[in-house]
């Protein structure tokens, strides 16, 4: 009898616990849903601005012609869509890909938070040099097939699917760059895209341990390995990718004004959403930025937008300061930094990296205002968590080393991994972080 009573008490205690948890979860679920809707609307607004901007720069007919040109380009590094198509077409391509990414996220029931905002803006940026309305789909399909085989919801893999489009040039290069008959090229290119998408999720999980979350562009490192794998296969059959460097010039005044207006507006919108205040910015600056620091979830969308706007102004300012050209690849770099302003980057942890790359240009063979060095500076901020965790001096060293490494790893994947800096960042972090950790431990022991 007593055992029976104890058992019943236990069951009733369990039931009461479960209903308590269910009630709390329901409350938080409603709050999360409202926030998710606001995040969704703000992201849609941003995509609309980018898409509609296309019509400021070119006529619909010119945009259509430009889109055809950029969608059929091999798109390997460095292929500037502003030069290949035109400015309006590049913006239109960016807007369409942003809408597609947001729609796929929404359809897959994933939350639009800092991680997704970073992914959407990274896609927006790379739609100016390498990702287009043709070459991203098979990679996303490959990730989708992987999720089906794993019997998991696709939404759980949304980040890999969106960031994984870094391998878009793999699809475009095989389709249009190898002089194959068009149908054969389309089939082979998209088969490679599906295969790449299929292997990315497992590989991305695995390699993240290599840099311990100190390289924000983890897919860049993953796609670098995958790209190197495919490039090795192509080279085995005597196929080599040509050196490509197509970059636009002469857009500094136009694009500079556009970007400054966009980022100031972004910061102002954030200020309004943040109850007309900068409340919470000091908290953001305290984050090291190491994966996973989702500022939107942790600190709110308003203050994240302010941070994103500030990063946009700083990175655009850097380009002008060193006398660089604003073109497709540079826009990609700026938009990516801005996107990661919702997910790990802030002014305190990116500036040491920019300084490190700039110092490198005095001692190394690349000019600070060359496209490669500018990309090294902007995307080198993938190592921002090193500055955030170990201090600004470590950040400067990381930037200095990154510049040397990034100029050498592109050969491995033949320019087919758009996140070349993420590939390099993974290598720098994997070498530097264990040393910094060891040094930090040693200092602590000495202090004891």
């Amino acid at each position: 009898m007593s055992i029976q009573n104890t058992h019943e008490e236990h069951l009733s205690k369990n039931e009461s616990l479960k209903s308590r948890i269910a009630a709390t979860l329901l409350d938080s679920f409603t709050a999360v849903n409202i926030k998710a809707e606001i995040n969704f609307l703000v992201t849609i607004a941003l995509a609309s601005i980018i898409l509609l901007s296309a019509f400021i720069f070119n006529t619909p007919q010119e945009i259509l012609i430009g889109i055809k040109q950029l969608a059929t380009a091999p798109s390997i590094l460095v292929s500037d869509y502003i030069a290949i198509g035109n400015l309006g077409a590049a913006f239109f391509n960016s807007g369409i890909l942003m809408f597609s990414a947001i729609l796929i996220t929404k359809l897959s029931s994933a939350n639009i938070n800092g991680t997704v905002i970073a992914a959407v803006l990274t896609i927006a940026g790379f739609a100016f040099f390498g990702k287009n309305i043709y070459n991203v789909w098979s990679i996303i399909l490959g990730v989708y097939i992987y999720s089906r085989i794993q019997k998991e919801e696709f939404g759980k893999f949304i980040l890999v699917a969106l960031f994984g489009t870094a391998l878009g040039p793999l699809v475009s290069q095989i389709t249009f760059g190898l002089e194959l008959p068009l149908i054969q090229g389309i089939i082979l290119g998209n088969t490679a895209g599906i295969a790449a998408g299929f292997i990315l999720p497992a590989l991305a999980n695995h390699v993240i341990k290599f840099h311990q979350g100190f390289n924000l562009y983890n897919i860049g490192f993953t796609a670098g390995l995958t790209g190197a794998f495919f490039m090795s296969l192509l080279r085995a059959f005597g196929i080599e990718n040509p050196d490509t460097s197509i970059v636009a010039e002469g857009y500094n005044q136009l694009l500079g004004s556009y970007l400054i207006i966009l980022f100031v507006a972004m910061a102002l919108a954030g200020y309004l959403l943040n109850d007309n205040s900068l409340k919470g910015y000091k908290v953001i600056l305290k984050h090291s930025g190491r994966l996973v620091a989702d500022f939107v979830t942790l600190n709110g969308l308003g203050i994240s937008l302010i941070n994103m706007g500030c990063l946009g102004v700083i990175t655009t300012g850097y380009i002008f300061l060193v006398g660089g050209e604003l073109n497709g690849p540079i826009l990609a770099g700026i938009f990516t930094v801005v996107g990661f302003g919702a997910f790990g980057k802030h002014i305190k942890n990116i500036i040491p990296l920019l300084i490190g790359v700039y110092i490198a240009s005095f001692f190394q063979i690349w000019d600070a205002n060359s496209t490669g060095a500018l990309l090294g500076a902007l995307f080198g901020t993938t190592l921002a968590p090193i500055a955030g965790e170990f201090g600004w001096k470590s950040g400067v060293i990381a930037g200095f080393l990154h510049m040397a490494i990034v100029m050498n790893v592109g050969y491995l994947h033949g320019g087919m991994n758009l996140y070349n800096n993420g590939f390099s960042g993974g290598i720098v972090a994997a070498i530097l972080v264990p040393m910094l950790l060891a040094f930090r431990k040693e200092t602590r022991n000495v202090g004891k």
Partner: protein, 112 residues
Amino acid sequence: MENKKIAKLVSELMNFCLKLGIKHIKSEVEKEAEMIKISIEGSTGCDSVDCNCAEKIERFGKSLNITREAQVDQYYWELAGEDNEYLAGMMIDKAEVSYKDNYLKIVAYRKK
């Protein structure tokens, strides 16, 4: 995969307790049909006025109670267990943290 994620979460909670200086830590994992419950408890032995254990515990509790993010869980779970409390928070649905008379008890719930 699920078992590995649970082990990472236990490791994250265990790390926190060790950093607080808890010497005798009791940990328990209950796998139920719809939910996994991870409990961890021990005495901090924190009797100094200057000690900021309570503050650290409150901050840790807040981090554990941020919204669960399925996509983050799936992509970044390998980083859990290494001083990554936000990630742990994004991998669980809810955490109950109590700290009375220098005795800490954390119960984390993860729906399957």
